[in-house]
Amino acid sequence: MTDYWSLDAALAEETIVPARYKFGAYGVARVLEPGSTSSDLEAGAKVDTPLWLATALTRRGMASLTPPEIYLERYRRKLDAGAECLNLKGRAPYFYDVGNKCNEFMQDSTLSAFLSRTYASRYRELVSKGLSTISGEDMLELQSKLSLEELAVFEGGREAVARAEMWARGARPRSTVNAMPSRKRPIHARDGPEGREGKDVS
């Protein structure tokens, strides 16, 4: 459905979505609903399924899906009021992705406008914190609230600025050297830390 090789897209589709099965399903009840009594799903059952399964079934007309809780009225009001304060990382790390995919199957014309609005208000915070060099509590607090897509954008900005600052100060970026301390040989004298770095004991 999406880019086959994208790891993040696959993870996004793991999100659980409530779906209503029009037809029953044999043998999968225990997998989808660990607490069920029989091993078959009856027709018309409402089960929480991962998004990839729900969309595949809906395309074939075998189920109908409803968006997860976070896109419903209650949360919309919360987000419209104060979008920056809501912790998306905990509730819906793939907020925008899942919203976009649900958009196809839903009769709700306001969903994508809602997504854009949310992004608009959170974006302002992203930019101001992302491109400043002052790290610390503020930034950590913001980072813990961002969904994963927003986090990618934020990190991009922060990395660029950090690199530029390090360059301006004349420092070199710390390379990821595998600092394996070599075993001490009693015979040779070590010639300081330079000699030890990166030497493999073969």
Binding site: M1, T2, D3, S6, D8, A9, A12, A56, T58, R59, R60, G61, Y96, D97, N100, K101, N103, E104, F105, Q107, S109, S112, A113, L115, S116, Y119, A120, Y123, R124, L126, V127, S128, G130, L131, S132, E149, A152, V153, F154, E155, G156, G157, E159, A160, V161, R163, A164, M166, W167, A168, G170
Partner: protein, 214 residues
């Protein structure tokens, strides 16, 4: 129509950014700067032929324009005096700073690599500036300029609220590199979010609301 994942657009290439500040410094070293050599080059016409151009004639006490990398390596060997570029004179810098402060909507024209060139001159060619206090003053002025422009950039970015085009003219190379990843990714995200909206609306109008087969 299958929707793409946002990560395809927002995939922040953190491990290998498209341009590092070190690479920008390399590009900046191509800028021309005026130099007064104190030797004569023993080549026909005194000209030095490099791959990218010919420079010279290298005669003592005659100022010539050479690329910055050449100027710096001659300076290190004690073979020339570097002249301060005209835009780096204190009065010029003060004037530019004033202009920046009085016009918050747009940027002043500034040499494309002013950050890199000033850093190179401060670290490697301190004698270019008359005295230590002059050096510090110029350093302070450039820092001020950087800060004012930076805050203007942030203000402009904050106002972006959709997949629109933003006008940021006279942006220097290092400034545009800082905002490159963030700006590009967020514009991509805007674009994708609004594209989904349009697609859905078109689908509804066209009447093919029924789920297509996989």
């Amino acid at each position: 129509m299958p929707t793409a994942s946002l990560f395809e657009y927002v995939a922040a290439k953190l491990e290998d950014p498209p341009l590092t500040p070190e690479e920008l410094e390399f590009f900046a070293e191509h800028e021309k700067i005026e130099v007064i050599p104190n030797f004569t080059l023993n080549l026909p016409n005194g000209m030095l032929t490099c791959i990218e151009g010919t420079y010279g004639p290298f005669r003592p006490n005659i100022p010539i324009k050479v690329p910055l990398y050449l100027a710096l390596s001659l300076y290190r060997r004690g073979k020339c005096r570097i002249q301060l570029p005209p835009w780096m004179a204190k009065e010029e810098l003060r004037g530019t700073l004033e202009e920046e402060r009085t016009h918050p909507q747009y940027f002043q024209p500034v040499p494309q690599y002013y950050v890199e060139i000033s850093k190179l001159l401060f670290t490697e060619a301190r004698a270019v500036f008359g005295s230590n206090s002059e050096l510090c003053e110029t350093q302070d002025l450039i820092e001020e300029l950087k800060k004012v422009r930076n805050s203007k950039i942030l203000d402009g970015l904050r106002k972006v609220s959709g997949p629109i085009t933003v006008k940021l003219n006279h942006l220097s190379a290092s400034e545009s590199n800082k905002i490159r990843l963030l700006f590009e990714s967020s514009l991509n995200m805007w674009h994708q979010l609004s594209k989904n909206d349009k697609e859905w609306q078109e689908n509804q109008l066209a009447g093919n609301d029924t789920p297509a087969t996989l």
